[in-house]
């Protein structure tokens, strides 16, 4: 369906990534946000807190990130599109209820404006070291979706996509922004509401007595009933059957969790999204995401000037990971170069998929700044030798 015009600030703006993310959420139809202040993400909710009262949205500043995430899961069960926003330390606290959202199949969006870590780390400076936490941070086995914007324009666009994917697959979707993109101001084009496609919550049409909250009938995702619509359904964080009732045995665990995992794995090729530049016939492919993708493209230009056949594969969706494409490339290229603002996270995935068919060269950066393009260029040149 088309976006609700009340939330769409159509026009050409000069906005930072945090504000653009907030605008994306409102354009996507988000009408409930719970959050707790944390640098460098707070501007997202500040923007929303100012605009929500004019469009029927409610923002509440909770007592901590545990509460913020719990409130978001609760609000989503009313059919209201819901989001929370945080950075590393708060992201850690949200893990418990991100798991609940996964288990209850609750659509919601979590934005992490990544800063340097571990612990309090570098509150005002950039990091990309929560990428594996995004994938594995909550306990138990699960799959979810994570997106990585490289600019304020993408902070807007990908936040809308995040809401749409969360509705489509009924999973929490993570927008893994970074401080640099969050605090960078650039031109952001907000299209008219009628040009913004949003995925609505798919409500069940089942008669009240026949509805079962986790019955799928062969579809990957069950139908949704809102709290208060008379279905009087039950949902739980415990392993459950199609009725949403807890069942404590291995058979139910296999059925319940297998489907949670498979609904993403089985659609991974539709969900993955990446952009390639100059990978055709390349010897070296730089795999990158977020702000590092921009710096890496500069490095690739420098390397090409020196005669190296280098290309870029930028991850727009990081989780699920584009395994198939990396495997294909590994058969044809000499090496992957993987710059990221951490000491080696996504490079592990590249290594796994390359499976020894191409060399994999990490270009780590501890955070607090972005790579020097010449450092990435040097790695490309070395890998090409």
């Amino acid at each position: 369906m088309r976006a609700d015009p009340a939330g769409v600030l159509t026009g050409v703006h000069y906005l930072d990534g945090d504000f653009a993310c907030g605008e994306g959420a409102m354009a996507a139809g988000c009408r409930f946000v719970a959050g707790y202040p944390i640098t460098p993400s707070t501007e997202v909710v500040e923007r929303i807190a100012r605009r929500f009262p004019r469009m029927g949205g409610t923002f509440v500043q909770m007592e901590d990130e545990l509460a913020s995430m719990a409130a978001v899961v609760g609000a989503s069960w009313t059919g209201t599109k819901s989001m929370t926003v945080t950075s590393g330390p708060g992201f850690s606290l949200m893990m418990e209820n991100i798991g609940l959202a996964v288990m209850m199949e609750t659509p919601c969006v979590v934005v992490n404006v990544q800063r340097g870590g571990p612990s309090t780390g570098l509150p005002t400076m950039v990091g990309q070291a929560d990428m594996m936490q995004a994938r594995w941070g909550s306990h138990g086995d699960y799959e979810l979706i994570a997106l990585c914007p490289q600019s304020p324009q993408e902070a807007f666009d990908l936040t809308i996509d995040a809401f749409n994917l969360s509705e489509q697959y009924r999973v929490p979707v993570l927008v893994m922004m970074d401080e640099c993109v969050g605090h960078m101001t650039e031109k952001v084009i907000v299209r008219p509401a009628e040009d913004i496609e949003v995925v609505p919550r798919r409500l069940t049409a089942a008669p009240r007595g026949e509805f079962q909250p986790y019955r799928v009938d062969g579809r990957p995702v069950p139908e949704f009933a809102r709290a208060g619509d008379g279905y009087r359904f039950h949902t739980t964080g415990l392993t459950h059957d199609e009725r949403g009732y807890p069942v404590m045995n291995a058979e139910c665990q296999e059925k319940c969790v297998r489907r949670l995992v498979d609904k993403i794995r089985g659609s991974a090729e539709q969900i993955v999204r990446f952009e390639e530049e100059g990978t055709e016939g390349a010897d070296i492919v730089v795999v990158c995401y977020g702000i590092t993708a921009r710096v890496a493209r500069l490095a690739v230009h420098l390397a090409r000037e020196r005669g190296v056949k280098a290309g870029v594969l930028r991850l727009v969706v990081v989780w699920p990971f584009p395994e198939q494409r990396i495997r294909e490339l590994a058969r044809h290229i000499r090496a992957f170069v993987v710059p990221e603002i951490n000491y080696g996270q996504i490079v592990l995935e590249v290594e796994r998929c390359a499976a020894g068919q191409a060399a994999v060269v990490p270009v780590p950066h501890g955070g607090g700044g972005v790579h020097d393009p010449s450092a990435i260029c040097q790695s490309i040149l070395r890998a090409a030798q």
Partner: protein, 205 residues
Amino acid sequence: MSRTEIRITGFGGQGVVLAGYIIGRACAIEAGRHATLIQSFGPEARGSACSATLAVCDTEVLYPYIQRPDIFVVMSGEGYERYRAELKDDGVLIYEKDLVHPTPGAPDKAPLRLREGPAGPRAYGIPSTRIAESLGRAMVQNIVMVGFFTAVTQLVSRAQMRAAVQASVPPGTEELNLKAFDAGCAFFDTTYGEAAQSPALPASG
């Protein structure tokens, strides 16, 4: 690709970030170029030395931070001392005349070639605070500076920058701010004269 790097610095409360925002907006929206603004965060944005940087480019800005600015706009002595060394040798210094006292060729720092007169000065001073006060509000000092900046650098046209001022200041204050902008431009015209040739902008890859 031509790229211009700018640093704007001052103390908290002078509107450093708004000045950067207006310049960036004028470049990105009014002039259709690409402009990436990065502002300093944390306690320093609320006091002490405050800074914003801009990378302006005809194509997409890939590297968001600046390395050596082509243009250095300074509104406080502390900001000048902190960042003066990074200005390019052939860069342009724009400063608040009453608050900043540039020291040409200071040892161990990159020397500033402060050549005065119509032959092509590289340093341009303006008493922007006094001008703003004469307009009734010291607060618009940053907009006076933006006007002066526009006249000195010709990075975008005066009309484009003026439109960015109008779109960026709080509603109800447009008239005063546009007056401040014009005063900044006018100071350049009268002080550095019609005859004074504005330098072509240095460009770097």
